[in-house]
Symmetry: C2
Subunit: 210 residues, 2 copies
C-alpha cells in the first residue's frame, strides 16, 4: 500500500525536516525558520554520505524541498513585509531564479557552485529584509523599492555563471554555525555579516564559469 517507505532513507527524513521549517517560515512569517531549514539542508547531504544512502530519490527530494524553504519562503516574506508592486515583481523574479538555479544544479556535476547557491540566496535576502526592518536604514517607502531591487540582484546572482566555493574551511564553518545559532535567538547581525561576506566574495573574485 505504501511501498514508497522502502526507498525513503534516514537522510530523506532530514530533508523532510528542511521542507517543514520552510513551510513554517511561510505560515508564521518568521525568518528564523529559514535559518533552521539551512541547518537541516546542510545535514541531509552529510547524513546521506555517512550512512551510504546517497540516492537519485534523495537528490530529487532535496531540490523539491529546497525550492520551498529557500525559494518560496524568502520570496513570500519579502512580499509580506514590503508589499507593493515592486515587492510582488521582485518576489516572483527571486522565486523563478531560485527554481532555475535548482534545476541547473540537478543536471550539473562540478566541484564548485555555478551561481550563488539557493540557500545562500535565501540567507542574504532574509538578512537584508531583517536589517531594513530592524534598523530603518531608510524610510519604509524607500525600503519598499531598495529591498526588492536587491532581491532581484540576488536572484540574478543565483542564475549567473559566477563560481562560488563549495565547502568553507573549518574556522569558517564554526563561525557560520555560531552565527546561525545566534540568529535563532534573534541576534542575526553576525549571520548578516557572514552572508554579505560570502556573496561579496564571489562578486569580488569574479571567477566566471567558461
Amino acid at each position: 500500500m505504501f511501498k514508497i517507505k522502502n526507498i525513503i532513507t534516514i537522510s530523506d527524513y532530514v530533508t523532510v525536516i528542511n521542507i517543514v521549517f520552510g513551510m513554517l517560515a511561510i505560515l508564521f512569517q518568521d525568518f528564523r525558520f529559514i535559518y533552521l531549514a539551512i541547518v537541516f539542508d546542510a545535514m541531509d547531504g552529510y547524513v546521506a554520505r555517512k550512512t551510504n544512502t546517497v540516492s537519485d530519490f534523495g537528490a530529487e527530494l532535496d531540490s523539491i524541498c529546497d525550492v520551498v524553504s529557500f525559494g518560496v519562503a524568502p520570496a513570500y516574506l519579502l512580499y509580506y513585509y514590503f508589499e507593493g508592486t515592486f515587492g510582488l515583481i521582485a518576489s516572483l523574479i527571486f522565486l523563478i531564479c531560485g527554481a532555475l538555479r535548482l534545476a541547473r544544479f540537478g543536471i550539473l556535476d562540478v566541484r564548485y557552485f555555478v551561481g550563488l547557491p539557493i540557500p545562500a540566496g535565501a540567507l542574504i535576502l532574509s538578512v537584508t529584509c531583517e536589517l531594513f526592518l530592524k534598523y530603518n536604514i531608510v524610510n519604509y517607502n524607500l525600503a519598499s523599492i531598495i529591498v526588492p531591487i536587491l532581491a532581484i540582484i540576488f536572484g540574478l546572482l543565483m542564475i549567473s555563471d559566477i563560481r562560488y566555493p563549495k565547502y568553507p574551511n573549518k574556522i569558517g564553518m564554526i563561525i557560520f554555525a555560531i552565527s546561525l545559532i545566534l540568529a535563532l535567538f534573534g541576534i542575526f547581525e553576525p549571520l548578516a555579516i557572514c552572508a554579505i561576506g560570502y556573496v561579496g566574495y564571489g562578486i569580488l573574485k569574479w571567477d566566471i564559469e567558461k
Copy 2:
C-alpha cells in the same frame, strides 16, 4: 554571464508560468491561480514533445515548480482558511506527501501514475476547501476538523501504490477543460465533480502497483 539561457527552452517558459501562478495563489490567497497553474502544467509537457525539447533540465524544473503550485499553494490555503492545530498538521502532511510523490515520480518510469498525481491532489484539496467554504456543509468549527482530515487522506493517496490512469480520453479532456474555465469564473462545482470522480475512480478500481 548568464549561460543558463542556452539550456532554457520554450517549454521551460511554460513551466515558469506554472510556478508564477502557484506563487500568486499563495500571495493573493486565491484557489483560481492553482487551477491556472494546472493548465500550464499540462501544457509544458505537450509543448516539450511538440517542439522536441524534452530535457533533463525541463524535467527537474517541472518537479520544482509543481511542488510550489500543487504542494505549497493548496497546503498554505488550507491553513489560511481553516487555521488551528488540525489545519497546521494537515497542511504540513499534505506538503510532505506531495514532495515525496514528486521525488518518486522523478525516478519512476511507468505508463500509468503510481499514487494520485500531485496536480490532482492539489485540485481535490482546493475544491474541497471551496465546497466547505461556500456551502457551509457543516459549521466552521467542524469543517476545521473534517477538511484537514480529508487533506491528510488526499496526501496519503498521493504516496500510495494505487494506480491512476495517465491520459483521459478526448471527451474527458474536453469536459475537464470546460470545467476548468468555468472555475476561473467562480463556478467551481463542475470541476469539483471532475476531481471527485477521478480520485474516486482510482480508489474504487483499487488497482495497486505490485
